[in-house]
């Protein structure tokens, strides 16, 4: 694999992990613009655990401890934050991320504004399997009764309550598990590039990740995967095609075309690319095809 493709693959994998972290609360209707905050916590916590033990700690253990740490913080802040709704929750989570960045930039032990070197390298042979594991975990998570409960909360919180769903607990669980996934992504980032600084994890990153999820669709576990793959590969693909075709202005201005894409997507697929209905239609078509071939076989025999 060429260096360029490998670096793109790493970015794609990290984006997918981040996107699933935002997707879990989004599936229950909670908009979280605090991705950068949780990623920062994960990246710095695992770097710090690693550094403070003189790189004695195995990388997987410091990554795991960072997940627990971030999960703990997310659990604590979820109670005030989940009292807010809609755009107010967007603002509250955004504020949280700003607070995290503000703290990191002012703490000398974490390298302050100069950033922090990270010991222990993780390459593509670790990051890709971990990403696949995260994807499978999220498909499992959404297929459970808790997943059904989260989707119910998205549709009608009050009715979900009347059928015995503990709405608060379900929301806290989704928010916390999502934060732990983002922490994992942040740790992988740190251990891959071996250098982290708070400015990398800015609000633009949070916005992009939320966009991956909303564009991909929050109704099925396919959404964040499709959204992240689309956002990461399409601009690069446009550049590749434009460069090989010798259209310089398109290669430079590929985000203009991409922006137009997004507008069209919002017009024609306001609930995201992958909706529940679309999934049913596709799987229904496959099932029907199977059924007819079985029927045909029965007729022939």
């Amino acid at each position: 694999m060429s260096g360029y493709l490998e670096s793109q693959l790493i970015i794609l994998c990290l984006s997918i992990i981040y996107a699933y972290g935002i997707f879990l609360p989004a599936a229950s209707g909670q908009l979280n613009l605090g991705a950068a905050g949780f990623i920062t916590l994960g990246a710095y916590a695992s770097a710090w655990f690693n550094a403070s033990t003189g790189a004695e700690l195995p990388i997987w253990l410091s990554v795991f401890l960072a997940m627990l740490f971030t999960g703990g913080i997310a659990f604590l802040i979820s109670f005030p934050i989940l009292r807010t709704r809609g755009v107010y929750m967007v603002l509250a989570t955004f504020a949280f991320a700003e607070v995290v960045a503000g703290i990191v930039i002012n703490v000398e032990e974490l390298g302050a504004a100069a950033g922090m070197p990270v010991d222990g390298h993780l390459d593509v042979t670790v990051i890709v399997p971990v990403t696949i594991f995260v994807i499978l975990f999220c498909f499992y998570f959404m297929s459970t009764r808790l997943g059904v409960a989260l989707r119910s909360i998205h549709d009608d919180e009050n009715v979900a309550t009347l059928f015995g769903v503990n709405v608060r607990a379900a929301k806290v669980a989704a928010f916390t598990v999502g934060a732990m996934l983002m922490s994992l992504g942040g740790s992988l980032y740190g251990h891959h590039y071996n250098y982290i600084e708070a400015q990398t994890f800015n609000v633009l990153l949070s916005i992009y990740i939320l966009l991956y999820v909303l564009m991909g669709g929050t109704q099925t576990a396919w959404g964040p995967l499709i959204g992240a793959v689309f956002f990461i590969t399409v601009p690069e693909a446009i550049r590749g095609v434009a460069e090989s075709a010798g259209i310089g202005w398109l290669a430079e201005g590929r985000f203009m075309l991409f922006g137009a894409f997004i507008v069209l997507l919002m017009v024609f697929r306001p609930e995201g690319v992958m909706t529940r209905t679309l999934q049913d239609r596709m799987s229904g078509a496959i099932l029907r095809r199977k059924q007819t071939s079985i029927d045909d076989a029965a007729v022939r025999s």
């Binding site: 498909f139 499992y140 959404m142 297929s143 459970t144 009764r145 808790l146 997943g147 059904v148 409960a149 989707r151 119910s152 998205h154 549709d155 009608d156 009050n158 009715v159 979900a160 309550t161 009347l162 059928f163 015995g164 769903v165 503990n166 709405v167 109704q219 529940r276 209905t277 049913d280 229904g284």
Partner: protein, 261 residues
């Protein structure tokens, strides 16, 4: 004496200065099919909302099967044995038929191991099969995987009843289950409810369709302006002067029974 599944005594509820429910008391005996009727705005749906905890009660006591649930949290009332359907369909639009029914099972599956069981990944598991069976029994087994938003109104109404039923309630609260249904659909609904009642589930139904109420119910409670004005059998309800007055006014010429309004 038959045991009461539901006992309401001295129920009060005001919104601001408006007394919506004013000292309402009645009992629903085990296995009965009770109707709660009254003109528009009488407070029927408010009674349901107080029973299920959507609104907090001002004063009074509610017991379900002998258990005082007056101050039990809404999410725990379903485990006390009470489940409801809604006047306006409130199925989850983005969930399939079978997933809506699976939501109805939630009260019986609140252990962590049940919550984390991958219902969606295993095509044949007990929860899913029992949900499909409940739909089959109600005669709507043909659409298990479909998104409910795309189904006919009458079918959605019956799915609401099935969703309420799979929590295995002692008391089933139905808020205008026949509203907006045509004759065929109403008959199908009645059949389903009779079948449910025969299995020992007590039914309390709010309904305007008097034909439906007379066919289904054995006991009637009438509310008007938040007060109970009548309690008795369907045979005597249309002879009661207070009920006639509530529905038709005080014209002496009128001797018609209350009917669909």
């Amino acid at each position: 004496m038959t045991k009461n599944v539901l006992e309401i005594s001295g129920m009060h509820k005001s919104f601001g200065g408006l007394k919506v429910i004013d000292d309402v008391s009645f009992n629903v005996s085990h296995g009965s099919r009770t109707a709660l009727i009254g003109p528009n705005g009488a407070g029927k749906t408010t009674v349901f909302n107080l029973l299920t905890g959507v609104y907090a009660i001002d004063s009074g006591v509610i017991t379900v099967d002998g258990e005082d649930i007056t101050h039990v949290l809404p999410k725990d009332r379903v485990t006390a044995g009470m489940s409801r359907s809604f006047q306006n369909i409130r199925l989850m639009p983005h969930l399939s038929t079978v997933e809506n029914v699976i939501l109805g099972q939630h009260a019986r599956a609140r252990k962590l191991s049940s919550l984390m069981f991958p219902l969606g990944l295993l095509p044949k598991n007990d929860w899913r099969l029992s949900a499909e069976e409940a739909l089959d029994n109600a005669g709507i087994g043909t659409y298990p995987g479909e998104i409910v938003a795309n189904l006919p109104y009458g079918v959605q109404k019956r799915i609401e009843v099935v969703r309420a039923l799979v929590s295995q309630p002692k008391l089933l609260l139905l808020d205008e289950p026949a509203a907006g249904l045509n004759e065929v659909e109403t008959n199908q609904l009645q059949e389903l409810l009779e079948q449910v009642s025969d299995q020992g589930v007590t039914i309390l139904v709010v309904e305007h369709d008097m034909q439906f109420v007379r066919n289904l119910c054995d006991h009637i409670v009438v509310l008007n302006f938040g007060r109970k004005i009548f309690e008795g059998t369907p045979e005597t309800v249309h002879q009661d002067p207070a009920v006639l007055e509530a529905y038709l006014g005080t014209d002496d010429e009128v001797s018609e029974a209350p009917h669909a309004s």
